[in-house]
Symmetry: C2
Subunit: 226 residues, 2 copies
Amino acid sequence: MTAQMADKSYSPAASLEARTAWMAGRAEPLRAAGTVIQVAASREVFAEGGDTDVFYKVVSGVVRCCKFLSDGRRQIEAFHVAGDLFGFELGQERLLSAEAVSDCTLVSYRRRSIETLAQKDQTISHQLFQYAMQNLAQAQDHSLLLGRRGAAEKVASFLLGWAKLSADKRVLHLAMTRQDIADYLGLTIETVSRSLTQFERDGVIALPYSRQVKILNIDALEDLAA
Amino acid sequence: MTAQMADKSYSPAASLEARTAWMAGRAEPLRAAGTVIQVAASREVFAEGGDTDVFYKVVSGVVRCCKFLSDGRRQIEAFHVAGDLFGFELGQERLLSAEAVSDCTLVSYRRRSIETLAQKDQTISHQLFQYAMQNLAQAQDHSLLLGRRGAAEKVASFLLGWAKLSADKRVLHLAMTRQDIADYLGLTIETVSRSLTQFERDGVIALPYSRQVKILNIDALEDLAA
DNA sequence: CGCTTAATTGATCAGGGTCAATCGTGGTGG
DNA sequence: CCACCACGATTGACCCTGATCAATTAAGCG
């Protein structure tokens, strides 16, 4: 099931991370040990219940990690962008599934190998710990969003959060569909759409294309995010 | 602000953890380094924005960790019971606040000391890593609950989750108020109350006292949790 | 150019929130 | 000992946000 369009050994120089030094530096010590793979948009990287023998780092593209209820309802836990680790789990079985939102270049690492390395190299275990704690902090923020914010607040928060991950903080390119956004925010596509058009009517954003958002009034957007 | 009713050096033998071997064993290597404190019900242990120089383990009682929005809306991220670590954070400022739900006995650890110990003792860093990953998994489950489940499903899930933490899986003693449950589930007290009385009418639970829940039909409850 | 999938928009509905009254319980003091 | 009070919980009436259902428009793509 794991979509692998290419599979070759990883040369550090091949990485084209255009992120901040902090971001880019986060997983440095892992670099040498991985294998590059390509995953086409909407292909599955791994599935809930699968084996946890490998984990990944995003080189380029966007990945969504999500959970499903038995009846198909989906909750997207996080979108991962260049520099992010994902898919590391302690148990034997995966608790999340991961899919490529856009065409992605990933590096995969064998968990056993990294854990062996981590025994010796404290920087590696430290990276993984940072990874866990950052994801935890993000998941907790997300809970606040899901549990206590209204629809407009959710959408505004999402735009601001995505802006922080974007190179250009004023013109956002949404890699994901409205359905993805809805499943991330615990809403429906219709409500996401209506919130966006409302923001547009209010002059807070512009929507030249459905996947492009220009932030016209960031203060107003921050107010909307409450 | 940090409520400390007692403060003496910690004797490992004093701990009365009545939990599973796995739970009790989780934080063993930390034992020697802590200081016991007592916190009265509804007192704050630490506040959002505070210093992260100490973290805690619950010896007895229940602690809630939560976040607030500027207008006072609250989201409880987790309830912590005997054996759980809480309050460990990487940054300088706390992202969560913590309060005693019931009278609590806690052990506090200086973060710096533990981090120094962790440099040498791999089991300690391993404990902390486990702590982070478990909390992460729990937070992600919580997101699914908050984002995609209906009111009755939320309440049913909560009861089942609390049952797993309780000694007697059939007769639950709720340490927390309806408001706490509501803020944990992203609901209101009224909706929590209505769901419980509905479960009672349906013969799924009994409510002899408002803080005591007898699970009469656990299969039905599991079905309700979807 | 036509087909398919994504997104928007509108009309209606319902789940859960809000407001308000009542009940229950436990603590306090006359 | 019991009346009173305070606080938590329950219950009811009503409302509103966001979901659902449905139709239309827009955007990719072979």
